[in-house]
């Protein structure tokens, strides 16, 4: 029995802010910044949302779509760099909120933007070894860039949850492999509110090198080339990087079409590639091959060679909202409201 994706769900908060609006506050041409990044709008979580609530919404959708009995879940792993607690797992709250506790294991993963794909690999291992029936892998973030920093134009909120198992698999994982080095392109020190980054150093030696090397190794191991894939999904810190790396590797716009969601919702960090994958699964038919390559700063890439199955034809993906809904909808808010929602306003008193 081959392990793979049994079900999935995505969730993106309702609010949006445009680069133009952010630029207006900082005295820069935000629209030009947005065009440079390939980001039209980014999502903003409501004051009562965090990675725990986003994870729960996405996972509840996934469980209903797959008809999964939560008591059959053996592991819940939540990958994020914006866990609400520094100490106390996101995963236990999420597991409790979907009724999966107590006969299971849970943990939070952190690897910048690829903690979610790392969680999928961990689940594949447990499921493949027959240790658990279903494993839950979630990638989600409510990340923040420092006010005025380039990151502020893209750092957004959202997540996707995947049920990994061996029964009624809608997308088989034919192969997964990773490429990992010590590359300090982006980091956040303990206790610091906002991340720091190496500017253009985040490009060639970091994102492009890892994604490209990981993809090449996967093609080599699987004996495939870009033309074998109906869809490709890259980590997408902005709208430009994934398109550029896709072209470099030899993928067409059509192959990248559904996997690219950042232009509409911003960079959801650990959620980015996984929401892209959810969008691909929303549109894919049975028997389509999908390449997923995540990237996390620090740095590493996880590549997945997936193929959708006949199960996808009868899969109840109508339940919950499709990713397209989140790409098309949203309520734009001004910077002042965004600043209030994100706790950027210094409040007096106790």
């Amino acid at each position: 029995m081959q392990a793979g994706i049994v079900s999935y769900g995505a969730y993106v908060p309702r609010y949006r802010i445009t680069p133009a609006e952010i630029g207006r506050v900082w005295g820069t041409d935000g629209e030009a910044v947005g065009q440079g990044l390939g980001v039209r709008r980014k999502s903003v979580p409501a004051p009562d949302e965090d990675t725990i609530t986003i994870s729960t919404e996405a996972l509840r959708t996934a469980l209903v779509r797959g008809g999964i009995d939560p008591q059959q879940i053996g592991a819940v792993y939540v990958g994020s760099e914006s866990h609400p607690y520094a100490v106390k797992p996101t995963a236990t709250v999420v597991a409790q909120a979907v009724g999966a506790t107590p006969n299971m294991t849970a943990a939070d993963f952190e690897f910048a933007c690829k903690a979610g794909t790392a969680a999928i690999q961990a689940c594949l291992g447990l499921v493949g070894a027959g240790m658990i029936r279903y494993g839950i892998a979630i990638g989600t973030d409510t990340s923040q860039g420092a006010p005025g920093d380039a990151l502020e134009y893209s750092a957004s909120a959202g997540g996707a949850a995947f049920v990994i198992g061996t029964e009624h698999v809608i997308a088989r994982v034919e192969r997964t492999l990773s490429y990992t080095t010590d590359t300090p392109d982006f980091w956040r020190r303990e206790g610091q509110r906002y991340p720091s980054h190496g500017g253009r150093f985040t490009g060639e030696p970091a994102y492009f090198r890892h994604v490209t090397e990981c993809a090449r190794r996967l093609f080599e191991a699987s004996g495939t080339s870009p033309k074998d894939y109906a869809h490709v999904v890259f980590h997408q810190p902005n709208g430009k990087f994934p398109q550029r790396v896709g072209r470099q590797l030899g993928f067409s716009e059509e192959q990248m079409r559904y996997g690219l969601v950042t232009p509409s919702i911003g960079n959801t960090y650990s959620g980015a590639a996984l929401i892209g994958l959810a969008n691909v699964l929303d549109h894919a038919g049975p028997g389509e091959r999908v390449l997923l390559i995540g990237y996390g700063s620090g740095a590493g890439s996880d590549a997945f060679d997936l193929e959708t199955t006949e199960e996808l034809a009868s899969f109840d993906r109508n339940h919950g909202l499709p990713v397209q809904h989140y790409l098309d909808h949203g309520v734009e808010i001004p910077y002042a409201v965004y600043a209030k929602f994100r706790g950027k306003i210094h409040m007096g008193g106790s």
Partner: protein
């Protein structure tokens, strides 16, 4: 609020775990130890079985709160509603992800999972149900909401009937 006080209610607040009287069939939320509907209340003792609400319902009354309850100050104006669930019980909760002016009696909603409040910057975070409108794309489909089944004392899993 002490950590334990909120924690002990999490099955209800997270998963809408209510109870159903095995004698008369009425559903209650929060769960009750004694059935208020049975003519002989004592008959129902130990017959109030776990029963989970689906979270689907409709607004039967609502208000737009401008002077917030403690811990809700950052959310004003917020919508507080009475939601009649499809299983019968009425719940008090916020309606989120909607413009206050768009809320009305009869609005179809589903339970969502949100932060209720934080015990300050360093304290524990409380989570629980709120409601969000069922968007057009979802209408006509099965209502979403928490679906997790609740283990019953008999070892079975009773599902909401929605």
């Amino acid at each position: 609020m002490s950590v334990a006080r909120f924690w002990r209610e999490t099955p209800r607040r997270y998963n809408l775990a209510g109870s159903r009287c095995a004698v008369c069939g009425n559903v209650y939320f929060p769960p009750r130890a004694v059935c208020p509907s049975c003519p002989h209340h004592r008959q129902s003792i130990e017959k109030m079985l776990p029963f989970q609400l689906s979270g689907a319902g409709e607004v039967i009354s609502y208000t737009i709160v401008h002077e917030a309850a403690e811990g809700f100050e950052m959310q004003v104006p917020y919508v507080l509603a009475l939601v009649k669930t499809v299983e019968g019980p009425v719940l008090t909760g916020q309606v989120v992800d909607i413009e206050p002016a768009e809320v009305g009696i009869g609005l179809k909603v589903r339970a969502t999972f949100r932060k209720l409040r934080e015990e300050g910057k360093a304290g524990v975070i409380h989570y629980g149900y709120k409601f969000s409108p069922v968007v057009e794309e979802e209408l006509g489909r099965r209502p979403a909401g928490p679906r997790a089944s609740v283990p019953s004392p008999t070892g079975g899993h009773e599902q909401a009937r929605a």
